[in-house]
Symmetry: C2
Subunit: 344 residues, 2 copies
């Protein structure tokens, strides 16, 4: 398998694979400024909650590195501008804010240092966030892999793999971990309209690993469940509220209702950095609405009417009562509202 580089720090720039071009073109882009990183997040060159957390942190490190400010107050102003710009890129995934918050703490704790040392401290922190993410994903894989039975069929949604993280993946990390144990199973990959992260990204990752898969349109999921073809469902999350409600890619909620109706376990796999204790319930999670063109155009090509009204929320909220358990790097939590707050 060729190693996939979702994002990597390269001293004076950041490298990312352009996920909009996958699976047909493996194009790596080099970003030399925080503004380029912010645009890459907005336009979904990079996506996936943990991955954009890492990208935002690296964006901060890059912005500060390139700053020509000569004293702490003006560097602090630069920091705030960079922080604000990156903060505004996407509203739903809390990992992005979590990454920015860690960089802010690092910045504030480094104000005693010389400017070159402070720049180095931020660079180190961003790399640390990156490295920790890979480790956290592997732990989630280890914590969840027993939930995939040998000779079973599982379903996954959107992309939660290497491309959604610094590496390995969250829900796809659990699938990867079970496969590494030589378990045999089939993965049903929901294509995940409108951006087709399942069809384009998850399918590509599974293909590279040799994990057996079948791609389906999202609307086929219920019919497969009714036929007894789905043993368990694994999805990621972009933000988990204090009560265990989880925001994830639009369509996750429908899957969770279908899973409930067919008595199929429904697992959310996410690092604890996805948990937002300031959000009491899913109702307080901001849901991003994206361009109608994502629905009317596919692969850049207009398929529907040009100016038709479209509703295109990028996420929905699955209430905790429809989630069998949340798998984190700190363990598997199945009694969500009571246990989550004790985690952090």
């Amino acid at each position: 398998m060729n190693k996939i580089i979702t994002i990597e720090w390269r001293g004076d720039h950041v490298v990312m694979i352009d996920q909009r071009k996958l699976p047909h073109e493996e194009i790596y882009v080099k970003l030399y400024s925080y503004e380029e990183v912010a645009q890459a997040i907005e336009t979904m060159v990079i996506r996936g909650a943990p991955a954009i957390g890492v990208a935002a942190a690296m964006g901060v490190a890059l912005g500060i590195q390139k700053s020509s400010s000569k004293d702490a107050p003006s560097l602090k102003q630069d920091f705030l501008n960079i922080y604000e710009r990156l903060y505004r890129t996407r509203p739903t995934a809390v990992n992005l804010r979590w990454g920015l918050e860690r960089m802010k703490n690092c910045f504030e704790n480094s104000l005693e240092l010389s400017i070159p040392e402070l720049k180095q401290a931020l660079e180190k922190e961003a790399i640390q966030i990156y490295e920790e993410d890979v480790e956290i994903n592997k732990k989630m894989g280890a914590n969840g892999k027993h939930l995939i039975q040998n000779n079973s069929k599982v379903m996954t949604y959107c992309n939660t793999g290497t491309l959604a993280t610094a590496g390995y993946g969250t829900a796809l990390g659990v699938i990867r971990a079970a496969y590494e144990e030589s378990k045999k199973f089939l993965v049903y990959v929901c294509e995940t309209r409108p951006f087709l992260q399942g069809l384009r990204l998850t399918s590509w990752e599974l293909y590279k690993e040799g994990i057996p898969q079948k791609v389906i349109s999202d609307n086929m999921a219920g019919s497969l469940m009714a036929k007894g073809e789905v043993s368990a469902i694994f999805v990621g999350a972009d933000r988990i509220a204090k009560n265990g409600d989880a925001a994830n890619k639009i369509g996750t909620y429908s899957l969770s209702v279908l899973a409930k109706y067919h008595t199929i376990p429904f697992y959310v796999v996410a690092p604890t950095s996805t948990i937002d204790l300031k959000c009491p319930t899913g109702r307080e999670i901001p849901i991003e609405e994206r361009s109608p063109k994502e629905v009317t155009h596919v692969g850049g090509k207009l398929v529907g009417l040009e100016n038709v009204d479209v509703y295109n929320p990028s996420f929905d909220v699955t209430p905790h009562e429809l989630i069998t358990a949340i798998i984190t790097e700190k363990g598997v939590f199945d009694s969500l509202s009571r246990r989550l707050s004790s985690l952090l």
Copy 2:
């Protein structure tokens, strides 16, 4: 509004709008042989259960008209070849077989006639089936329109309009009839992957009528229901079993489960020619599986991996217990298993 011609008899040929090219190109194709009609059904130049019933009937009339057989026995052999060819085109919609059966009865009842008279009788029968379909659709519209409230929001799936019938539509006919009564409502149009009949066809029909709409990806339906945004759901059917189970476009089953969970009425609108009393339950309805390319390619463009495994059933079955009522030209039936068999 420009009149849409789904299919029309033109003396020595049949005209159809090529539905694969919509909404961007309104191209009418002329078909001069039954083989061309069969291929048009297979490749979805024309689709929709009632429409392909009409197409098959016209295909038979065309085939017999073009036959050079000089006596009844060889004409009968031609008839059987034509019948068999058209019968094999698509397996799920029973209306196709119903249309062929009517043509068969007409043929058998016309064996006393001269060959030119027999050809004329078949032509007349095909035109009759076409004209009846428009009338039947208008009756269904009248029977169902009270189920759409003023200032409400309804949801529809796939395309069940003029393009799916000889004219007017089944589920979309009910929506059209309510709109003709000056009711105000919004239609949520599910795009209906993989062939995108909602995004491409229903959206175009509603646009031509000026009926307010919002297009969504299929996976957004559940989230809208959870928000209280959907008052009722109207779908078509390709075959209804004796017990009231209904086969319809893949994804209908998922919608029906979501509707049940959110206590939203779920209506199937279909002519009685869709009811197949020889099928005791939905389990006996044959489900067509179509090319993986419908999922991996959109608008002719490869979006996913070229040779990835895909599951692409064209239909699924909604069990009668998830259907609030079936709206037919003979009335609205809400106690399905008991009432349907009394209909025919």
